[in-house]
């Protein structure tokens, strides 16, 4: 990990660069460009924890969507990330490998970022009867459709791949678990950043909006909603620190589940405090809400992950501490 002072400087630089890029007409494309200029791939290689924490928190906070999730997943799998390599992500609300291999046929279905528009190749992880496989296929083998959904600006694509399995190489199960873990941490950081932004919007509104002759921030019902928002958010942030200190699939799963739980609390309370103002597209809240709903499903929702963890606890009849002082 880098020093605290260096990290603070990096956070500020990345945050500012992403905000400026978002304000340009190119939007998300500009965010990718500015991250490349800042040396994102070198950061990811040298200081993966700080790189993921800082960049994804800033993306969430600015409601930016970038294609760097591809690099995070590729690096965790053990493939050197590069700007012309897209990654096939699991389907929405799932975390199984997106592909399968039968005979010499490779088939896959999943999500991908906007990188698919410019990439030459795509990395696909597949399951088969004999374990896991990883293949790098020409982008031409992929049938790519933009997903509009609730949040077209998220830039996600629905992808089907059909190609030859000859290029596939065997992959350790632990490599896919590591990819899911790091992907979950990245998305959970992005959610935490978005939660911070939503809380800031709701807080400002509560202080400025006058009703019954006073700012609504003076009403205890409003104050308690915002207090519960901060509790949910800081609980989530604590799980992210724990997942960074003790990186493994369990702490990452718990952080992503905590993110999913937190985002429901945060969006519900902030939307209620923003009330009529937040219900129109004049106010930026709607973008964060819609993005949050999408991010909650990447690499598994809070509900699905909680059930998965519960099954593991029941199977082992054991409750692990996972983190110590």
């Amino acid at each position: 990990m880098i020093e605290a002072s260096e990290r603070a400087l990096m956070e500020e630089t990345v945050r500012k660069a992403i905000e400026d890029a978002c304000a340009t007409p190119d939007g998300n494309t500009a965010v990718d460009a500015v991250l490349a200029q800042l040396g994102w791939l070198d950061m990811l290689d040298a200081e993966p924890r700080d790189a993921v924490d800082i960049v994804f928190s800033a993306l969430g906070n600015a409601n930016a969507s970038a294609t760097v999730l591809d690099d995070v997943v590729a690096s965790a799998i053990g493939t050197a990330p590069r700007p012309d390599l897209a990654v096939l992500l699991p389907r929405f609300a799932a975390w199984e490998p997106p592909g399968s291999i039968e005979g010499d046929q490779l088939r896959a279905r999943g999500l991908a970022t906007a990188r698919t528009a410019t990439a030459r190749e795509m990395l696909v992880v597949c399951g088969s009867g004999t374990g896991l496989w990883v293949a790098i296929v020409p982008i031409a083998d992929a049938e790519i459709d933009a997903v509009r959904g609730i949040d077209p600006d998220a830039g996600l694509r629905a992808v089907r791949v059909q190609g030859s399995a000859v290029v596939a190489k065997q992959l350790e199960t632990s490599a896919w678990q590591a990819a899911v873990a790091l992907g979950r941490r990245a998305v959970a950081h992005q959610i935490a950043g978005a939660c911070r932004a939503m809380l800031a919007l709701a807080r400002t509104h509560a202080l400025e909006r006058l009703q019954f002759g006073r700012p609504i921030a003076q009403f205890q019902a409003v104050r308690h909603r915002l207090a519960d928002t901060l509790v949910a958010l800081e609980g989530l942030e604590a799980t992210l620190i724990a997942a960074g200190d003790e990186p493994n699939p369990d702490t990452a799963a718990l952080a992503k589940a905590a993110a999913g739980r937190a985002v429901r609390t945060v969006t519900a309370h902030c939307q209620q405090v923003l009330a009529g103002t937040g219900f129109t597209t004049e106010h930026p809240f709607h973008r964060f809400l819609k993005r949050a709903l999408v991010l909650e499903g990447l690499f598994g929702s809070a509900d699905d992950i909680a059930v998965d963890l519960g099954r593991q606890l029941l199977a082992a009849r054991a409750v692990p501490n996972l983190i110590e002082l």
């Binding site: 202080l207 104050r223 207090a227 519960g310 409750v319 501490n321 983190i323």
Partner: protein
């Protein structure tokens, strides 16, 4: 054993301490085990706690993390946090009653005359004595600063040799077992709020003190009313300064919100373990248990960060209200999970195991009430952390 000299920021060192502690607890398992059958009465739990403290004191473990000037062996308070969590997680002591050590000893160390602290603290640590905390009153619960149990000097306040106390406390835990009480009194004008409160360290056998246990919702008589009828307390038993009692009361917060919480978290993990031991292995149980686990983990992660900040020298403040809300919520979620997954155990079952679950389930309903209600915590978060200004 020599764990007192190094900094706890050196975490391998803390891991060594933890490993050695658990090895010792394993080796002394039989000696430490409760001598009564679960669920046990309050008398039995109190006797067990004092017995365990005595054994740990004799072996030297109880003294780690306490200053040498009160008979401790020095080192970071995280050492005693580990000890409390280890014995609570093994069901050797009830963390609710054990945590009074963590709440009251630091107050006496920081605010009593040094000789008094040196004399008294070892008695608390060694299990020779119990102490209680006389804060709440019938008219002063959440609004503690409105308390009106009066202390009057027998002469001029600055030279008085004695103070005379008259009034009533309520919801005082374990006063019927206690030798001493850290007591908040009104010494300023009736409307002086937090500016006119003074703390005293009172011997519970002083004439004029009457303790009346209250039966709680789970049948235990842990809480009491304490009546003070012209109770004479020597002036050298004042804790802190005259009218400085609010600072004494507030000084408890960092210990209550760090060490005590970590102990309670260990206890809650043990409770979830007990549920996982017997719950049906089905989808509904997986969902309920998984959700409780996610909440407990977020609480544990938050509390861990708080202890690390305290160990690094930070002063804990209003941000610990977040720890408090997370703890009370996770505690109630854990016992709600028990009730959902073991139908009838809380409501209809008369086995010893069920008695324990029922008692703890009912006690857990107080988690959002004691130590500052959930509403007070949210008020603090809104005012101090979110900077929302004054409420209406």
């Amino acid at each position: 054993m020599a764990f007192s000299k190094q900094s706890m920021s050196d975490s391998p060192h803390l891991a060594d301490y933890r490993a050695e502690l658990h090895a010792w607890l394993d080796a002394h398992r039989d000696e430490l085990a409760p001598v009564f059958a679960a669920p046990g009465t309050l008398d039995e739990h109190v006797a067990q706690m004092q017995r365990v403290k005595a054994i740990l004191f004799e072996a030297g473990w109880m003294q780690y993390g306490w200053p040498e000037r009160v008979g401790g062996r020095g080192g970071s308070p995280m050492l005693r946090t580990e000890l409390g969590a280890a014995i609570a997680g093994r069901d050797l002591v009830d963390p609710g009653i054990f945590s009074l050590v963590e709440v009251l000893a630091p107050t006496v160390i920081d605010f009593a005359p040094p000789e008094l602290a040196a004399e008294m603290v070892p008695r608390l640590l060694s299990g020779a004595e119990m102490w209680c905390q006389g804060f709440s009153e019938p008219g002063a619960g959440s609004d503690l600063a409105s308390l009106n149990c009066r202390a009057v000097p027998d002469g001029d306040a600055s030279t008085a040799s004695n103070w005379v106390i008259k009034g009533q406390k309520v919801w005082t835990s374990l006063a019927q077992y206690s030798e001493r009480c850290v007591l908040l009194t009104r010494t300023g004008p009736a409307d002086s709020r937090h500016r006119g409160i003074t703390a005293f360290f009172v011997d519970m056998d002083t004439p004029g003190i009457t303790v009346a246990p209250l039966e709680m919702i789970n049948g235990d008589r842990e809480l009491t009313e304490v009546f003070f009828d012209d109770v004479v307390v020597p002036a050298d038993r004042m804790l802190g300064k005259l009218n400085g009692g609010w600072a004494v009361a507030m000084s408890i917060l960092p210990y209550e919100r760090s060490s005590c919480f970590w102990q309670r978290i260990a206890y809650l993990y043990r409770r979830l373990q007990r549920l996982v031991d017997v719950a049906p292995n089905d989808e509904r149980a997986a969902e309920v248990i998984g959700n409780a686990f996610v909440q407990l983990h977020a609480l544990r992660a938050r509390s861990r960060a708080t202890q690390h900040r305290l160990d690094a020298g930070a002063t804990l403040g209003p941000e610990t209200s977040i720890d408090k809300v997370l703890l009370s919520t996770a505690e109630q979620t854990t016992y709600d999970a028990v009730r959902r997954l073991l139908p009838g155990v809380v409501e209809m079952d008369d086995s010893a195991t069920a008695e324990l679950w029922r008692s703890e389930y009912l006690y857990s309903r107080a988690a959002t009430i004691y130590g500052g209600t959930a509403e007070v915590q949210r008020n603090i978060i809104a005012r101090r952390l979110l900077d929302l200004g004054s409420a209406e």
